[in-house]
């Protein structure tokens, strides 16, 4: 079975993931832009029991547009957010794809959220994705 580990920039916070994610999605919303400092976020969603978090993390809780709580975990030394959960959805754990530091990471995204309203025009997603909002 595939085992991959996402880490923060300094390597102290590690998220070990077994198997394949249920899906990978891109989100261009303003919160994802700010949080990443990039112009979109990329999340790989894994079943909770396939993920092991190692190292110290600071939790940051944000209330999303629809009133749902999102709980992010970032490294207190370097600031990288490595994973997050939305408890209300019981929808597994989202892992920041950049944390895998693997340009060959698959699967590729299948969804691009806030695509029409928030995507910077120069971002060219070259695979077929379901585009929303």
């Amino acid at each position: 079975m595939t085992a991959r580990t996402a880490t923060c920039a300094c390597g102290r916070l590690r998220v070990a993931c077994e198997g394949e994610p249920a899906r990978v999605s891109v989100c261009h919303c303003h919160a994802c832009q700010r949080r990443t400092g990039s112009v979109f976020g990329v999340a790989a969603r894994y079943p909770r029991e396939k993920v092991a978090i190692e190292g110290e993390a600071t939790e940051y809780v944000r209330i999303g547009d629809e009133g749902n709580e999102v709980r992010f975990r970032f490294c207190p030394t370097c600031g990288s957010t490595v994973c997050w959960e939305m408890p209300a959805f019981n929808d597994g754990i989202a892992v920041a794809v950049g944390g895998f530091a693997d340009p060959g990471y698959t699967p590729h995204p299948v969804r691009s959220i806030y695509d029409a309203s928030r995507r910077h025009a120069w971002v060219d997603i070259k695979v077929p994705v379901e585009r929303r909002g």
Partner: protein, 131 residues
């Protein structure tokens, strides 16, 4: 023109006067880990055109160039809003996503393309692509 870059929780801000001197995308693995996205996007400003507000924590690393880079991130939400490069002491780099503005000037450079995820590219006729 004044633009304000802010972290997700809003406590750490960088107030930027005028236009950035360089906007670039970097696909390197360090930028991937720092952002959690598949590339970083930075806008360089003259240092005296950027005013930081709010508490920050610093993280330094040595870049491939051999020079130190020092990042300022929000201790509450983790967002890196701006950073300084010892290689370019007169410059402040600001995270473009922190402006949350799709009309922000588009990048003219896309670097470390050998690390680019194949499913996404930086579009634009004038963009200089570097391996």
């Amino acid at each position: 023109m004044t633009r304000i870059a802010a972290c997700d929780c809003g406590k750490l801000r960088a107030v930027c006067e005028g236009e950035p001197v360089r906007v670039s995308v970097c696909h390197c693995l360090e930028c991937q880990k720092r952002t959690g996205s598949v590339f970083g996007v930075s806008a360089r400003y003259p240092k005296d055109k950027v005013r930081a507000e709010g508490p920050s924590r610093r993280y330094s690393r040595v870049a491939d160039s051999g020079f130190k880079v020092t990042f300022d991130f929000c201790p509450t939400c983790g967002t890196t809003v701006h950073w300084h490069l010892d290689q370019f002491p007169d410059v402040t780099a600001v995270a473009v996503g922190a402006f949350a503005d799709r009309d922000f000037p588009a990048p003219a450079f896309s670097v470390s393309e050998r690390r680019r995820h194949s499913w996404v590219a930086v579009a634009g006729d004038a963009v200089q692509h570097k391996e």
